[in-house]
């Protein structure tokens, strides 16, 4: 038999093997990823982040890969007639299957999975050589059952979410007539002092700056924490970290789908607005810490963090290919070829598209949309490189990201205008925390403390006809007051589901309010990054800000105090001075007063009180 005829004869069994292995490997791989994702939250292992749709997407991806391999074997057989395509395919498919299953557990190094895969494939192929016909018959016979199982899993995983959303919307009560929409935009990692409207020397944000003349601008908005998870929790619950307790990632239950950071103790803004008949949705770019799995899905009828299309890059094999983006030279080469960095980064254009697709889906009800843009977050990857030009300082790259995102925020504002939603939407733009760019000898924001560059963020509030335009407020405020503010602006008939003063009081009064509570910020060690520390042993920091002073309480009763009027960069610690000691004690008392007013039974309280027990050093 000629090589060409032999190749033709081998194609049908080859096709059966491609599909059979793709279905088996992909489905089991998806189940392993889902299962071990839960285990990996429990103190060790790498994050995986997959949705249930991985169980049907993985077979598709693997099928494509195996199809390419099969085509390569057919081509190779033309120059090597003695090559048994079927046996070679069986070897390769078995090798990749064992590799993927072993690697998906995240319990073996990837390099160890290679010899394991090759060894198992070699043994299996020796056995296959002696039982080839019966194995191929078995594969052909079981193929329809495998395909049916995968289709069923696809229907269950993707259909379930759609159905849940429909049910949630059908259960909404009627909304008040002419109720305004609410759009909250959180720009992850954006510090206020890098926006032109906050005095920065570079024109990083012309579109955001255009909001100045249309909004109330808060010059000193302080976040409740210096990283995403607790900060978002505070923005949705109106509570500080010592109350809501979402200070870190919590172990995921093996069987249930319960919340894993933000617990059900306090109501969230999404629930309050859904109870008023609002359609609610969140669109997250920070899909590690602002996600449904972290407990933020409560009250949102739709929560888009990881999308189905993301799962195409979350299988074991495609994730290995995506590692090219970890190497700067390879990343630049890939980006020149048109690839954008995959993985956790979801960019503003995609978020805007999803947001408006959802808004346009139902215009019969008012909507509440909560958007997190991740574009400014590190690694600082910019398409335009407006300020760095490809070779700058971290601050240059950071500004690049702001400029890029600002363009897309401009597009969002235009889309709102096009749909005649600008006049009927309460728009709030803020950030969850800032970023250190070399100040205090540190970069980033993880475990970097509570310096001003980390907790001072922009805050714009726009609602034409209701919120005054062009007003700037200097009083330091907390972003945890946003829920109370939104509910006040919407009017709740006297109900106050959220604590804290609504910020409306500040613009309704013509004089500054000297009794306005000082914003509190808190941070604990990040569980995932500091995997060596066990639960119960975490270092706690708290800080409080007023118009002049910023006091940071460190563990074991030490403190830093900065005079913001004379030292806005917080470079000179005045805690040891006579005046400073008095100020620190005063701030400590205020923290304790706040704690006693809000929630004196929180388990975090004793640690907070210890932290603020100033020892006069």
């Amino acid at each position: 038999m000629s090589a060409g005829v032999s190749t033709v004869c081998n194609r049908r069994p080859l096709l059966v093997l491609v599909v059979w292995f793709a279905l088996l490997m992909g489905t089991v791989e998806g189940l392993i990823l889902l299962f071990f994702q839960r285990i990996n939250w429990a103190n060790w292992g790498r994050l995986i982040h997959v949705l249930p749709s991985i169980v049907w997407i993985s077979p598709i991806v693997d099928g494509l890969i195996f199809g390419v391999l099969a085509a390569a074997l057919i081509l190779a057989a033309r120059s090597r007639p003695k090559l048994s395509i079927t046996r070679a395919a069986f070897f390769l498919f078995t090798m990749f299957t064992v590799y993927a299953w072993a690697a998906a557990t995240e319990r073996l190094t990837y390099w160890a999975c290679v010899p394991l895969g090759i060894g198992v494939a070699a043994s299996a192929t020796r056995w296959f050589s002696q039982h080839q016909e019966s194995v191929l018959r078995f594969c052909a016979k079981t193929l329809p059952w495998l395909a049916t199982a995968v289709f069923a899993l696809a229907f269950i995983s993707s259909g379930r979410q759609w159905l849940q959303e429909r049910i949630a919307i059908d259960r909404l009560p009627p909304a008040p007539p002419n109720a305004p929409n609410v759009l909250v935009i959180v720009i992850d990692t954006l510090r206020a002092d890098h926006l032109s409207s906050y005095g920065y020397y570079r024109p990083t944000s012309p579109n955001l700056d255009s909001l100045v003349g249309q909004s109330v601008v808060f010059d000193d908005a302080i976040t409740a924490s210096s990283w995403t998870l607790p900060s978002h929790a505070s923005m949705l619950t109106g509570r500080y970290t010592f109350e809501h307790g979402a200070d870190n990632v919590k172990p995921m239950s093996l069987l249930s789908n319960s919340m894993h950071a933000l617990g059900p103790r306090y109501p969230v803004l999404s629930e309050a607005l859904a109870a008023r008949g609002y359609r609610t949705a969140a669109f997250s770019g920070n899909r590690i810490y602002f996600s449904r799995e972290m407990g933020f899905g409560r009250g949102f009828s739709r929560f888009e963090d990881f999308s189905t299309s993301d799962m195409f890059l979350r299988t074991v094999l495609t994730r290995r290919c995506a590692r090219v983006f970890n190497y700067p030279k390879l990343r630049r080469a890939a980006m020149r070829l048109g690839f954008r960095d995959p993985g956790v980064r979801k960019r503003a254009p995609e978020i805007n598209h999803s947001l408006f697709q959802w808004i346009d889906g139902d215009r019969t009800r008012p909507f509440f949309a909560f958007v997190n843009y991740f574009d400014v977050h590190s690694p600082y990857i910019s398409e335009t490189q407006k300020f760095s030009h490809g070779k700058g300082t971290p601050a240059d790259y950071y500004d690049d990201g702001i400029a890029d995102l600002d363009t897309h925020i401009g597009e969002l504002l235009q889309e709102l205008q096009k749909r005649h939603l600008s006049q009927t939407t309460l728009l709030i733009v803020t950030s969850d925390h800032g970023e250190l760019l070399g100040e205090h000898g540190m970069t980033g924001h993880w475990n970097a403390g509570l310096y001003r560059q980390l907790i001072r963020v922009p805050l714009f509030v726009r609602m034409p006809g209701v919120v005054p335009a062009g007003l700037r407020i200097a009083t330091p405020v907390s972003t945890s007051d946003l829920p109370a503010t939104i509910v006040e602006l919407l009017g709740t008939g006297g109900q106050k589901p959220f604590p804290g003063p609504g910020l409306t009081q500040l613009w309704k009064s013509s004089t500054p309010n000297p009794d306005w509570p000082y914003p509190l910020s808190e941070v604990t060690d990040i569980f995932y990054d500091s995997g060596q520390k066990s639960a119960g042993h975490w270092e706690y920091m708290a800080s409080m800000v007023n118009s002049r002073w910023h006091c940071i309480f460190h563990p074991k009763g030490t403190a830093e105090l900065f005079d913001l009027l004379k030292d806005p960069e917080e470079e000179h610690n005045l805690a040891a001075s006579a005046e400073g000691q008095q100020v620190v004690r005063d701030f400590g008392s205020r923290v304790q007063e706040l704690v006693s007013q809000r929630h004196p039974h929180s388990p975090a309280v004793p640690v907070l009180e210890q932290a603020v027990a100033w020892k006069g050093r």
């Binding site: 285990i39 429990a42 103190n43 060790w44 072993a102 319990r107 073996l108 190094t109 390099w111 160890a112 999975c113 290679v114 010899p115 394991l116 895969g117 090759i118 060894g119 198992v120 070699a122 043994s123 020796r126 172990p251 093996l254 995997g531």
Partner: protein, 58 residues
């Protein structure tokens, strides 16, 4: 939860190195399993005659 993990396969990341080494060794053994069996058989055959020889001399 920790005890469940230890029962399933648990422990700190240090065990990952050990498990990976074992997995790689298993893979190598499986690659050359046939040759390994043949080699072990040959060694066994060589040893058996010399042992029998020792018994005859006694």
């Amino acid at each position: 939860m920790r005890s469940e993990l230890v029962a399933l396969y648990g422990g700190p990341d240090q065990i990952m190195g050990l498990a990976s080494g074992l997995a790689a060794a298993v893979g190598v053994v499986l690659m050359f399993w046939n040759k390994l069996l043949v080699t072990v058989g040959k060694i066994g055959n060589k040893l058996r005659p010399s042992w029998h020889r020792g018994q005859d001399q006694e």
